[in-house]
Amino acid sequence: MAAPAAPLLTVEHLTMRFGGLVAIDDLSFSARRGDITAVIGPNGAGKTTVFNCVTGFYKPTSGCMVLSPGERSDPAIAQLTASGRGWRAARAGELFLLERMRDFQIARRAKVARTFQNIRLFPGMTVLENLIVAQHNALMRASGWTILGLFGAPGYRKAERVAVERAKYWLDRVALIDRADDPAGDLPYGAQRRLEIARAMCTEPQLLCLDEPAAGLNPRESADLKALLTSIKTEHATSILLIEHDMSVVMEISDHVVVLDYGQKISDGTPDAVRNDPKVVAAYLGVEDEEVEQVEAEIAR
């Protein structure tokens, strides 16, 4: 393996409280460029909450999340933080403070795309339309914010053709090209999962956040998913942040695993290291019976 790449996403001291409930407690981790970083943990550990913070659907109670597409430099981050703004544009070297940006800005400017645990397609629109909507911002510019497009400007038509080509590419990749004109709501479950990934990829993200992409898939579909994610990582300049319960997926394709339990990080490292970490074993399987007895005895006293 090559030398560790620079971190693309750095999460520092992230805390999220809902009323009295602490869903994430002082969490820090980073995801390197070109890596598949998996976030795992038992149910209710706060994985989806982390995703919702990173993608801007929740405003974290405290902490910061930096996305640095270029070289990460601390002075630049400090400068941006002090400036009070949420991001720095491309010419000055792109830098994004995700906790200051709104959800759609994170998707549009920081190029972070996501999928959802309970699939969120546009069921009444066709498969192709789903992928065209994903390219909204590029097409909006090409249509001259609707004015030029209304009168059928050639620039817009060309942009739409390009968008359709991109959609066709991804439909090919997820084997849905034959169903392009069917409503997304009519697809079987596994196909909907694939379509959601294709739709996210149509936004040309640099970070793709997948919330349990293998949930509900059969073993064959699961294997296809692994191949798809690996190829996204190698062929496109897209890093992946992954929540997954299916350990075969996590262990086989991820480069780096972060383990959460009760909102705290309990382990962080390569799949092998995490697998053998006693804290992880304890979190997943519970502690040994003897220890429980020991604790009970202590309480009794």
């Binding site: 998707a107 549009r108 909204h136 066709k168 409503p183």
Partner: protein, 464 residues
Amino acid sequence: MATQAADVRVADAPRGRAGAIAAAVKDASGTALLALGLSFPILALRTEQNMANQLVLDQRWSYVAIAVLLAFLARLLYLLRLAFAASPPAPRIAAPAADRPALRLLTMAGVLLLLVYPFLALALVGRAGAIKWIDNFAIQILIYVMLGWGLNIVVGLAGLLDLGYVAFYAIGAYAFALLASHYDLGFWVCLPLAGILAAFWGVLLGFPVLRLRGDYLAIVTLAFGEIIRLVAINWVDLTRGYAGISGVPRATFFGLPFEDSDQGFAAFFGLEFATIHRTIFLFYVILLMAAITNWVTLRLRRLPVGRAWEALREDETACRSLGINTTNTKLTAFALGAMFGGLAGCFYVTSRGQGFVTPESFTFMESALILAIVVLGGLGSQVGVAIAAVVLIGGTELLRELDWTKSIFGRDFEPTHYRMLLFGLAMVLVMIWKPRGVISTRIPSIFLKQRRAVRGDLVGEGHG
């Protein structure tokens, strides 16, 4: 559609014909009893004021008997039809083709008919009759078609439930009336201004409420609609309150007024002066305005903004995850819908309003009517909305023509009073019959190989 427990029992009764009939009669008797209970005080006893201005009761038990009998027969026939229908028709699941040739042919025929309509009316019923058929029917229906299409952008495409759409209709109308009376501007100058003003108000009213969802958005828009009307009533200095603003200049033919003078339209073209010239002209104006509304809407559906509206209706959260600014997207839908409402309002003043505006034209009933047109026609369907407007407005307008019923029910019978009664009942029945409207399928905005319509039950209904 309405599979009710009782009906199924009748249909499945293994006791044969006699049993089924007995069960149906029993059930229908229950319905008759219910009708008796419902009609007892409200139908049986009518409150009337006597000479001393006191209320006395007038007994009308025959009406109750008729209502009970009607309820009994209607229920009985319905149940018997269910019980003895050969077999329930299999539900059609096959994906409907998008290009229904029948519908397209119907649309073409409709457009052609519209283009020659005024002259057809002239030829068929003569000058005196034609004014009614052009003004009361065609122009009024076209105004509602345009309003329906405007609201369709907000409710049908973007999925934002707006119960106060009449506010923008009112803003357009008052904008024209005020601009004309204070600054002496004509219809053609005021028309775009009214549209812009209405769009501006659409954004202004839309901004604070767009984060609300579902019924809450509906109620807030209803409140806005009422506030605008109440302000129009109470701000007497500006709007002259209930009295309204009169004498708003009528539309001219590119500067030629429709009047009996040397500078008038008739004189210029060497015609004999007739009021119907103006009516025919206004017909073509609203036809053009409605056509533009339709063209813009269809066009926008194929542009990113239109697709974003529909995506918003399907799933707002997913939209945000794709980098779509949902606030702006909602505001454009609101503004555009409002603009068409405002344009229609401006036109209303110069046509049906006879240059006269009062707050009474902009009650909640109007909003409900326009929304009913959109929902009954089928959310998002341009043709459906047009059909619903023709049926609802034309149908209730036809009820005005039923003076002959007086010869049956007596001189006191006033068929126009039953207009809204039947209208309300029709709304309920159509919803039960087709909850998603007459045309519920959705036509995709783009396709790879074949354009296939999307079934109505897959199409989202929006959150707002």
